[in-house]
């Protein structure tokens, strides 16, 4: 039998009524979970809502918890489901807004406001921008590995896909991110070269 990880033991203690165990679990996992959600849904308001929902679900279902796998697998499986629910709701809202008559402006949540989205995009580095441009599944595979250190088998379990699919998603994500970063570095280097060339010409003419 697989030995329990520390977090699974904490979760079992929490299930059995030790509220301090929850504090320890929360302190350990809140930052990776928040970053996973933030970079997955790419919106701070939505990420905060989903973050709260994930912990609420974990609290509500604590009595049914069984330590079958790593605790992170359990937590991020809930997070994956919550994020998927969010994307489905979001898609439904957008379809409804599109099908609505243009006269009545649909009520848009704060996290979908274009100015909020634009602000979020401006704060991103080249890597995060490239990450945001990845397809949802590839982005998720990368984020799960980076934020939790989970193996491909565990990522496959969380995202409810086969091992090969998870592997393929992560491979594509890595390749695309590398390419994007190389391109970004090349763009950064180009103006510098141009600047240097101009400076050399100026010096020569002087």
């Amino acid at each position: 039998m697989e030995s329990l990880d520390d977090d699974a033991r904490l979760m079992l203690r929490y299930r059995d009524g030790d509220s301090d165990a929850f504090l320890a679990l929360y302190a350990r996992h809140k930052a990776p979970l928040y970053r996973y959600l933030l970079r997955q849904v790419r919106n701070a308001g939505a990420a905060a809502d989903i973050f709260q929902e994930v912990w609420s679900r974990l609290i509500a279902t604590r009595l049914r918890y069984e330590a079958r796998a790593k605790f992170a697998t359990y937590l991020f499986h809930i997070a994956h489901n919550c994020a998927m629910d969010f994307f489905r709701r979001d898609l439904k809202m957008r379809r409804a807004a599109r099908s609505d008559d243009a006269q009545a402006e649909p009520e848009v949540p704060e996290y979908q406001r274009p100015d909020v989205i634009a602000e979020f995009a401006e704060q991103q580095s080249a890597l995060l921008a490239a990450l945001g441009a990845l397809p949802l599944e590839q982005r998720e595979a990368f984020l799960l590995h980076e934020e939790t250190g989970l193996t491909i088998e565990e990522i496959a379990r969380i995202t409810d896909v086969g091992l090969e699919t998870a592997k393929s998603r992560l491979r594509y994500a890595i390749r695309k991110l590398k390419k994007s970063l190389i391109a970004a570095h090349a763009e950064d280097a180009e103006p510098r070269r141009t600047r240097d060339f101009k400076a050399t010409r100026l010096n020569a003419s002087a």
Binding site: L23, K30, Y34, A48, S56, I59, A60
Partner: protein
């Protein structure tokens, strides 16, 4: 075809991509969000985990009791109604007698009947006494009344 070592190199850890990702800013949830989650946890912890099953069991029992009462209740009441009852009544001698049956012969003896008619006469309720006397005569045509005050 992908280079075979691309993913493996990354999974071994310490790749340039991972290093760069780690250098990115590491946003944390706001304190307000922390407080909200911890409050939810405290509230859930305050509730006994056995309350919900207990409440459910109580609801089921109550529902079953109500269904049983609805199905079998009226029959039980009927059985009670059908059982013989003993009713005690007080006889008031200060009031003139009242007749409740369509067959007076079954209710009273002739002498009791005549006594009732006499009581009606004494109470000056002659019309009722006359009617009673006629009924008495119809029931007992050959019986002597014995008392002139009873006759109309």
């Amino acid at each position: 075809m992908h280079p075979p070592d691309d993913l493996e190199e990354y999974l071994r850890g310490g790749s340039a991509l991972s290093r760069q990702y780690r250098r990115e800013s590491a946003p944390q949830p706001m304190h307000a969000l922390d407080r909200r989650v911890l409050k939810i946890s405290r509230q859930a912890h305050g509730k006994s985990p056995y309350l919900a099953p207990l409440a459910f069991a109580a609801s089921v029992l109550l529902s079953m009791a109500m269904v049983l009462a609805m199905v079998f209740g009226p029959q039980t009441v009927k059985r009670i109604d059908e059982s013989p009852r003993l009713i005690h009544t007080a006889i008031r001698t200060d009031l003139p007698p009242r007749l409740y049956s369509s067959d007076p012969k079954r209710l009273r003896t002739p002498s009791a009947w005549l006594a009732d008619i006499a009581a009606l006469r004494r109470a000056r309720r002659d019309r009722e006494a006359d009617a009673e006397y006629r009924r008495f005569r119809a029931a007992y045509p050959n019986r002597a009344s014995g008392d002139q005050a009873i006759q109309p």
